[in-house]
């Protein structure tokens, strides 16, 4: 469905992506993992057209979308829930949701109302607070609203950038549950996460980035079992004690 072939993206003089290739198939959840600065968000931003790749090709449903403007990419069915949620702070919850439907051309009012109902069904809190302004919401509510706004585009694929960022563990679980639910309802999802374990638990496949390159690509189950993954991203610090001991010895020696 979405295919990225060897994209390279620069921020001024700094090369953030050094040839990234990945693909997302219809109906999947694909996790994009890696440390801070590995290039995950840059990849998303390049797909959405906010950044232009210097090299490489991006195809969506067989159509070459490399170098298209962000507005056009939104209209052909790629929706994005960016990092930090980016809710319009001075607009109400309802307005934020309605603006989410901007990319849909020639859509009837009834259809929009129907989708609004559906989203309120997934996030009952949003209906309760629909008159509140963006800045008055809590972190969890903001994330719900951001996802809701992304869904209003009724897109074929939804890119989610760090949806768990800064949320309490309970809320994170809720967010991931919703992501699964959305996916079951038919939306393909490309999920960027630092919380690799959580992401892999709901994903079909995963790609691990490091300094602008894809280091690992496999099914979620294989990645969860991968030793290297365990050490670097899944929080199993087997060799750490060793290193620390070394430093202790050095200190004692000095």
């Amino acid at each position: 469905m979405l295919e990225i072939k060897g994209i390279e993206t620069w921020y001024g003089a700094i090369q953030a992506l050094k040839g990234i290739s990945l693909d997302v198939k219809q109906g999947e959840i694909v996790a994009l993992l890696g440390a801070n600065g590995a290039g995950k968000s840059t990849t998303i931003m390049t797909v959405t057209g906010m950044l232009k790749p210097a090299k490489g090709r991006i195809e969506f449903l067989g159509q070459d979308i490399t170098g298209m403007e962000a507005e056009e990419i939104a209209e052909i069915g790629i929706a994005c829930v960016p990092e930090g949620r980016r809710i319009f702070p001075g607009l109400t919850v309802l307005d934020n949701l309605m603006l989410g439907a901007t990319p849909r051309k020639r859509v009837s009012k009834e259809e929009i109302q129907k989708d609004l109902k559906r989203i309120f069904g997934i996030f009952p809190q949003l209906e309760e607070f629909k008159g509140r302004l963006g800045w008055q919401l809590s972190g969890g509510q903001l994330q719900m609203l951001a996802i809701g706004r992304g869904l209003m585009a009724n897109s074929k694929i939804l890119l989610l950038d760090e949806p768990s960022l800064g949320l309490a563990p309970v809320v994170v679980q809720e967010v991931f549950r919703v992501i699964q639910e959305i996916n079951k309802a038919g939306t393909t999802i490309l999920l960027v996460e630092q919380n690799a374990r959580m992401a892999l638990l709901i994903a079909n496949r995963g790609f691990v980035l490091e300094t602008g390159r894809v280091m690992l690509a496999d099914t979620a189950a294989n990645l969860l079992a991968n030793e290297e993954m365990k050490q670097h991203y899944l929080g199993a610090h087997a060799h750490i004690k060793e290193a620390r001991q070394r430093r202790r010895d050095e200190k004692a020696g000095a």
Binding site: T48, G49, M50, E69, A70, E71, A74, E75, C80, P82, R86, F88, P89, G90, L91, D95, M98, L99, G100, T102, P103, R149, A153
Partner: protein
């Protein structure tokens, strides 16, 4: 000082303040949309004043016709201005943009002088020159027109931003351009519309203020800087702040000119500006903006 003089001054101040408020709104809308202070904003009021004088005095058009043509003209003017002074510099720091808007301002001023001459022109009044007598308070009817028109425009603006999707998209663009693009909002178009709208606000200010002052090439400069002061005094970036700040400065100025010194009339706006900056940098009516690192 009897109460009727004071009341007359309040009305005069509110009328002048309405003009400041209209131009200040133009400042704020453009600033919110593109983070640029348009130093030619005052000229957005000077140009339509000249256009209106010309239409009325030389083509003998009716006042209504003049208004329509001037507004349309200023709408186009807004787009042209955006394309020349802002668009080529949109990815640069604020300094080149400021200088370029200053440059366009000088261009317009001298263009007006070249076309219309250096002599001040007077705009035919749509209202009677006789002052109306409200129980001993004498008020120039033009003041009433100014205040009412401003109120009507503000009402329209409220409706536009609160009730229409185009208004919402403009607000969204002002609040977060990147996100707006991700949602498929045509940000460049929204910005152009903002310039057009703010230019039309200038048209209103120019047509309204024309009859009470002479129309000169320098009329815009002073209105412009005072309108900017208004927007800071009211709390920069805030739409209600710009309106309240404009009215506040208009009234203060009239009173200070009367009671303190008329020679320094033009200085009071800045003295208040500096006081506000010192004592309450977020503006009199503004909320404190959260600091960020």
């Amino acid at each position: 000082m009897d109460w009727s003089t004071n009341l007359q001054m309040v009305v005069a101040g509110l009328a002048m303040g309405s003009i400041y408020a209209l131009v200040a709104l133009g400042f704020v809308l453009i600033f919110n949309a593109v983070n640029v202070v348009n130093f030619a904003q005052g000229e957005f009021a000077m140009v339509p004043a000249f256009v209106a004088v010309w239409l009325m005095s030389y083509l003998n058009l009716s006042f209504a016709m003049t208004c329509v043509i001037t507004v349309v003209f200023m709408g186009i003017f807004g787009i042209v201005f955006e394309r020349i002074a802002y668009y080529p510099l949109r990815n640069r720091s604020f300094l080149p943009v400021i200088i370029s808007t200053i440059g366009v301002g000088i261009f317009l001023k001298n263009g007006a002088q070249l076309i219309f001459g250096a002599e001040p022109l007077s705009m035919p009044r749509p209202t009677s020159p006789e002052a109306l007598n409200f129980f001993g308070v004498f008020v120039d009817p033009q003041y009433i027109v100014i205040i009412l028109c401003t109120l009507a425009l503000l009402g329209f603006q409220y409706f536009f931003f609160e009730k229409t999707m185009l208004g919402k998209k403009m607000l969204a663009t002002a609040q977060d351009k990147q996100m707006a693009r991700l949602l498929g909002i045509r940000v460049a178009t929204m910005i152009a519309v903002t310039f057009v709208y703010s230019s039309i606000l200038g048209a209103a200010a120019g047509i309204l203020v024309g009859p009470i002052f002479f129309v000169t090439k320098d009329m815009g400069a002073m209105i412009g800087v005072k309108a900017f002061c208004s927007s800071i005094v009211g709390g920069f970036g805030s739409i209600p702040g710009a309106i309240l700040g404009g009215l506040f400065l208009g009234v203060i100025e009239v009173f200070a000119a009367y009671y303190v010194s008329s020679a320094y009339r033009d200085a009071f706006a800045f003295i208040i500006l500096i006081l506000v900056l010192l004592l309450r940098p977020q503006g009199i009516f503004g909320e404190k903006i959260a600091e960020k690192a």
